[in-house]
């Protein structure tokens, strides 16, 4: 299972010059907890970071007059932690661990942003794999039950189990 198959392709962006109010509105309308922050450069728009609902709460703590002037660029974390869409689950988990983050940007072979993958997405994928494993075991048991039901029933046997602490069969039979 690679990241391409589990990541979210819907990316909601905001310009780094945007305001917390705009960001909060986008998060609410689009039902996302994080926005990709984009900066305009002469070469075209470029990813400059990620801003989460948590960053906005911290921004809201600024006093009244300062709050009016705060831009998303100032609140966003500018550390970009990413994985390739070709990477697998375990390498994405390792990257999250190293980066101490719960969300990764996903890039394609041309280093373009194609999606976001969150810790929850990875957990879902792991759970799906475990469920698949459990199904393999269950199917195996079911097949065995079906196959053995075609056999003739075994002749009844009378077996005795030696009592605990006795010397064994000789005593038990006596």
């Amino acid at each position: 299972m690679n990241i391409a198959s589990i990541c979210t392709r819907r990316i909601v962006t905001i310009d780094s010059a945007g305001t917390p109010v705009q960001a909060a509105g986008l998060m609410r309308e689009q039902h996302v907890g994080a926005l990709v922050v984009v900066r305009q450069t002469p070469e075209g728009p470029q990813v400059s970071g990620i801003v989460t609902d948590r960053d906005l709460v911290i921004g809201a703590l600024a006093s009244g007059r300062d709050r009016a002037g705060v831009t998303i660029g100032e609140l966003a974390s500018d550390r970009i932690v990413s994985v390739s869409e070709e990477d697998d689950l375990s390498s994405a988990i390792a990257v999250m661990q190293e980066g101490g983050v719960r969300r990764l940007l996903v890039t394609n072979a041309e280093q373009q942003l194609v999606g976001v993958v969150s810790l929850d997405d990875l957990m879902d994928a792991c759970a799906a794999e475990m469920a698949g494993l459990a199904k393999v075991i269950r199917n195996g048991i079911e097949r065995e039950v079906v196959e053995s039901s075609n056999l003739p029933p075994p002749a009844p046997l009378v077996l005795r189990i030696p009592a605990m602490g006795t010397a064994g069969w000789g005593n038990a039979m006596a």
């Binding site: 917390p20 109010v21 960001a23 909060a24 509105g25 998060m27 609410r28 907890g33 609902d53 948590r54 906005l56 709460v57 911290i58 921004g59 809201a60 703590l61 009244g64 957990m123 475990m130």
Partner: protein, 153 residues
């Protein structure tokens, strides 16, 4: 799960709380200080702290930041989600997971019979327990594999 773990066994007991009358900017400061994204909102009663709501960073974004309100003038009671889904301390992990899935929540306050706050349990806490159980299963398989050559040389 072995020896029937209950919610009380795995929940976090140190919980950051707020009151309905707490200003939202104080609540946000609490979140920052304690490095949490959720506060349990309680009423102080004779029985103890009774859970009345939950306030997440997301609630603050939606009800205060998006409306460009002054967080010092909004009270937690007006921004919180009231009547939250709670887990009972004696609930099993399976019951907890079923509850979380049905209600679509990831973090629930744990209460006693009177609704008094005991702790907070998140799906991360459950994952830790499950991961530990899985590790034990893997260990059992491994040790079986290691014993095989001795039993059947």
């Amino acid at each position: 799960m072995s020896e029937r773990l209950t919610v009380a066994d795995i929940c976090t007991r140190a919980v950051a709380i707020a009151h309905r009358s707490t200003p939202v900017d104080d609540a946000a400061r609490l979140m920052r200080e304690h490095h949490v994204g959720t506060l349990v909102v309680v009423d102080e009663t004779e029985a103890g702290r009774v859970v009345v709501g939950m306030l997440t960073d997301r609630d603050i974004v939606a009800s205060v930041v998006a409306k460009d309100l002054d967080p010092g003038l909004v009270q937690v009671g007006d921004a919180m989600s009231a009547d939250p889904v709670c887990a009972h301390e004696e609930d099993s992990i399976i019951e907890l997971l079923g509850n979380m899935r049905r209600k679509g929540v990831r973090r629930v306050p744990v209460v006693d019979l009177k609704g008094v706050l005991i702790g907070l349990v998140a799906h991360d806490d459950v994952l830790e327990v499950v991961a530990e159980e899985l590790r034990l299963v893997v260990q059992a398989i491994e040790s079986g594999r290691q014993r095989e050559p001795f039993r059947r040389p």
